[in-house]
Symmetry: C2
Subunit: 208 residues, 2 copies
């Protein structure tokens, strides 16, 4: 049985997460190459870490792992041809850009918005949780920045972001990026290609 | 300047570590393909986890990550064509096989000994920290099992294993498998190929 709909991968990410940076920058191109659609699922990772009893990222709490992570990030960015500057603030708060991402999740500007926000954090070392910075970014994309930010900070949308994190918890998500092809979970940028291939194969077999 | 010596990668692993299983099974073949030598560095990961305040593996302490890990392992084993059975005891104590591995680290039987021990743990779900099991395994390899085990449990060798873990700590090792090309660290089976390529390139440039 062939599926008339394009296979879709859920992409759970946080703008504060460095390994999410790698995936955000390359997912649209890779997904297109596999004939897979992306369902963008921005969420706050912080509350999930706190539910494990952690006050911050494991890369902050565990010095050895943190030191390693920045070296690994530099190498991974070189591999993917991505710019990289170690953020002076980590993890950077990202509530406003995540709220905007929820508003834009099904809009044609979503990919570019996410890549620009990630580049601000991990290539330009700039704060991203600022109304001015977000306004400038959206305006630069030719979008009605004021209206989008109004919607992003509405009570209804704030609630949506909290619900996203609850949904992530219910799905057993424990880090970012996480990819879900139906119930099949893939964790980490290192698994993006496997997740896409799985998604593609499952659709071909009529299973997704 | 060309180096007259073959580039060498230090391979830090613990028989109790599931991602070390993946690397142990494929490292000799992959290293040969890259013209890289392996320096086997068996060590006890438990004391390092305890130094972080953890009583066990993060795959045990963090239920969500643990559940995911077993699914990921099944997929990774399928990818590499390796047998897989989720161990009923995890992480399995591995002090005796690690002591034997220290005795065998520069011996021609090291690779085969390590693969068989890992297969017992992760493909056959058998305990590995048993003198009888280790005796049988060594004898099956045509080796003087009794003499090797005697040497493995000598005070001098017990001390060597403790020193291995101290050295791992000094080098900033926080998990397994870890690969070191000189001071350049690569963590996790997912980085084995990059570690080998780095080692090969560094040797070619005369830097290692």
């Amino acid at each position: 049985m062939t599926s008339p709909t394009r296979p879709t991968l859920d992409f759970w990410f946080d703008f504060g997460s460095n390994y999410s940076y790698l995936s955000v920058m390359r997912i649209e191109e890779e997904a297109a190459r596999h004939g897979v659609g992306i369902r963008w699922q921005p969420f706050l990772l912080g509350p999930i870490f706190r539910s494990f009893g952690w006050e911050s990222s494991p890369f902050v709490l565990q010095k050895e792992k943190g030191d390693y992570t920045w070296k690994d990030m530099a190498r991974q960015c070189r591999k993917y041809g991505l710019p990289w500057r170690q953020p002076t603030r980590f993890p950077r708060p990202a509530v406003l850009p995540l709220r905007i991402a929820l508003v834009g999740a099904t809009q044609p500007w979503m990919g570019e918005f996410c890549r620009r926000t990630m580049a601000m954090n991990f290539a330009e070392d700039r704060d991203i949780d600022s109304p001015q910075a977000m306004h400038d970014l959206l305006a630069d994309l030719g979008l009605p920045a004021h209206r989008i930010i109004e919607e992003a900070i509405s009570d209804a949308n704030k609630l949506r972001l909290r619900r996203q994190t609850e949904t992530a918890t219910e799905k057993g998500i424990f880090g970012a990026p996480t990819f879900l092809a139906g119930d099949e979970m893939f964790w980490g940028n290192d698994r993006l290609d496997e997740a896409l291939a799985f998604c593609q194969a499952a659709a071909g077999s009529g299973a997704a």
